[in-house]
Symmetry: C2
Subunit: 387 residues, 2 copies
């Protein structure tokens, strides 16, 4: 039996000297997908020397997951993916504190159908939830009793910590640009006295295997740097706050694609995504009959269309803001170019793999990262594990 | 029997003095929808004094229809709308020269289905058309033998001319802004020696009935000026040129939502619309693995995805341009906010009606304009006609 590897090194700031070294794998992006790929590679291919690179000051400092509300549910998921969802659920819960909270997921419908209960029955124990909707407009409900909420940001952090504990090196505050041929240009960033982010030093680091896991930016980065065109796209999703009371057992509610996720004693709204945003689109606040809002127009219209079914949306509880920065939002990768895309990975060239989470990363992401790690472990001389 | 009304007046330039007068109806926008509403109102309510206002120098000088390729077909149209389509077809053909050309419309499919023929059979008399596609990838075809192509730009012009011949007044080179209460601010435009468009004079013109028919801009105009929120949206559609040979009998081809419209001995491509463009989107040329193109990225990706089925798209015949201005394109209204929206009209306030064409205006537009005219004729004291 080989002794456990010593913990990896962490470079948090430019005061800590970094020199390129021999690595077998570089992982760009310590969001939940990249961090999980790093952890699983440490587990499956412990001989492989691995460097995890993150532009922010902590795994998941920037980007979407720090804001992401995180809902695990089987609702709307085809049966063929249930095993992967359960795998992700188990893995997320064993990774330490990710604020995992079991709560039912209740999909609300205007019409009856297979597996639907009267909404009053489904929400009998949750009068606060029932008060948000009009039972005459949404009289039917479908319950996923296994659902849960958690914090994808904590998941990224815990996963990266455990990857380091198992011997992965972690380079923070560093921007990485693909150069082709397994080469990566590293820019170590620092902050000046006037709060500008500047490049302190650059390095060239190579490795036989590079995993690109920078989320919504990754497909563009791949195309720009490697000339590899993919069908992946992105959309800018805003998640406004709804000041209606919730508690630790309040169910997640979904109606017409809109998810109401209990969070911090209130709700975070996760609006539906209908389509990719076009190339060149700059997110902009909307206007509703002349009044500027921080919510983009399309999201606003979707919410307005649901005000009869969910009267709480027509109240002051909905925080629409006055400008874009008032409403939390982030670019989200759309694997395959559609909002229905599931987490996926694919080779970009002889050295580089693209790893994408997207809208269903909460439910399926860790399993996809594990599949990539398992695929790579075969060539890295590690074990392969049955999924 | 009342004698026919004398022809209306036409103000083409600011040298011709215009004074606000008593009108019963103002129609803003002399595209095909507004011009048709004006013509049908002259027919159905000849007592009603009508002013048609156009920002360009001719009916349809600017905007989408001058570029629009124009395809009339029943393909994909639910049965319930066939009567309206046939009505539109009859009306368009009787309005004078609109370059009407009967041609089959052939929808290509990868799989067999009801009413589908082998593609070689469907295109037996059109070897030039068959050469554009890979019969192994698209072996099945559905033929609409009644289809035709025409010029919506000519339709707008002929319709406006006949409206004037029947007594409608026409005010060209004039921008109209709704002020509410049936009042409209008119800006008569002229061009300076340095080719700048400037406002020469403004007038205030009122009427009990105002029809807003300015196409993709109309919903925004309505909301901005009247505070009336609608669900209508818009999308920027580019129609690139395909330098493959066609003739006067070549069928219109459609595959995966892309229409190839024979025009000028070659083809105009009409790409599918998947969704509205977001508020604030500025059309931008795309890049494909670093090479700038005039085609927007989303359209480019759709065409790339079809290159196996339609190898001609992978050839130099496709004009992608280098910047946005190289590719003809225009904003298109999406009635109801979706690409499937059909032409429609609706009251905005006590005086103002919105009239929208959109993606199916070629097949259904004139009928919708007639329905609006017929609705209005009842209150204007004219005849009502059965549709």
């Amino acid at each position: 039996m080989t002794p456990p590897a010593p913990p990896g090194r962490v470079w948090a700031h430019v005061g800590q000297p970094f020199e390129p070294a021999a690595y077998d794998v570089l992982v760009i992006g310590a969001g939940r997908m990249g961090s999980a790929a790093a952890l699983f590679l440490r587990q499956l291919a412990p001989e492989a020397r691995l460097l995890l690179i993150e532009e922010g000051g902590l795994p998941n400092e920037d980007g979407a997951t720090i804001l992401a509300p995180g809902v695990w549910t089987l609702a709307g998921l085809p049966e063929a993916h249930h095993a992967a969802a359960h795998w992700t659920r188990e893995a997320a819960q064993t990774l330490g504190d990710v604020s995992w909270q079991a709560r039912p997921h209740v999909t609300l419908h205007p019409t009856p159908g297979l597996g639907r209960l009267p909404v009053e029955e489904a929400l009998r124990e949750h009068p606060q939830s029932l008060a948000l909707l009009d039972p005459a407009a949404l009289p039917w409900a479908e319950v996923d009793p296994q659902a849960a909420t958690y914090r994808p940001g904590s998941l990224a952090l815990r996963t990266a910590q455990q990857a380091v504990a198992l011997g992965a090196d972690l380079l923070l505050n560093t921007r990485a640009a693909l150069c082709g041929g397994g080469e990566v240009q590293l820019e170590r960033l620092t902050v000046t006295n006037t709060h500008q982010i500047v490049t302190h030093e650059t390095h060239r680091q190579g490795a036989p295997t590079v995993i690109l896991a920078t989320g919504a930016d990754a497909p563009h980065h791949a195309e720009h740097a490697l000339g590899v065109h993919t069908r992946h796209a992105r959309a800018y999703r805003q998640m406004p706050h709804l000041a209606a009371p919730s508690n630790d057992t309040s169910p997640v509610l979904r109606a017409a694609g809109l998810t109401l996720r209990p969070q911090h004693g209130a709700y975070t709204l996760i609006p539906p995504l209908h389509w990719r945003d076009p190339h060149g689109y700059q997110p902009a606040g909307g206007q509703l009959t002349g009044v500027p809002t921080g919510l983009r127009r399309e999201t606003l219209e979707d919410l307005v269309a649901q005000m009869d079914e969910l009267p709480v949306l027509a109240s002051e509880a909905l925080h629409m803001g006055r400008s874009l920065s008032d409403v939390p939002g982030a670019w989200l990768a759309l694997p395959g170019g559609t909002p229905a895309g599931r987490p996926t990975f694919e080779p970009l060239d002889d050295h580089t793999w693209l790893l994408l989470g997207g809208p269903q990363a909460d439910t399926l992401g860790l399993h996809t990262a594990y599949k990539l790690a398992s695929t790579l472990a075969q060539t890295l001389g590690g074990q392969t594990a049955a999924l």
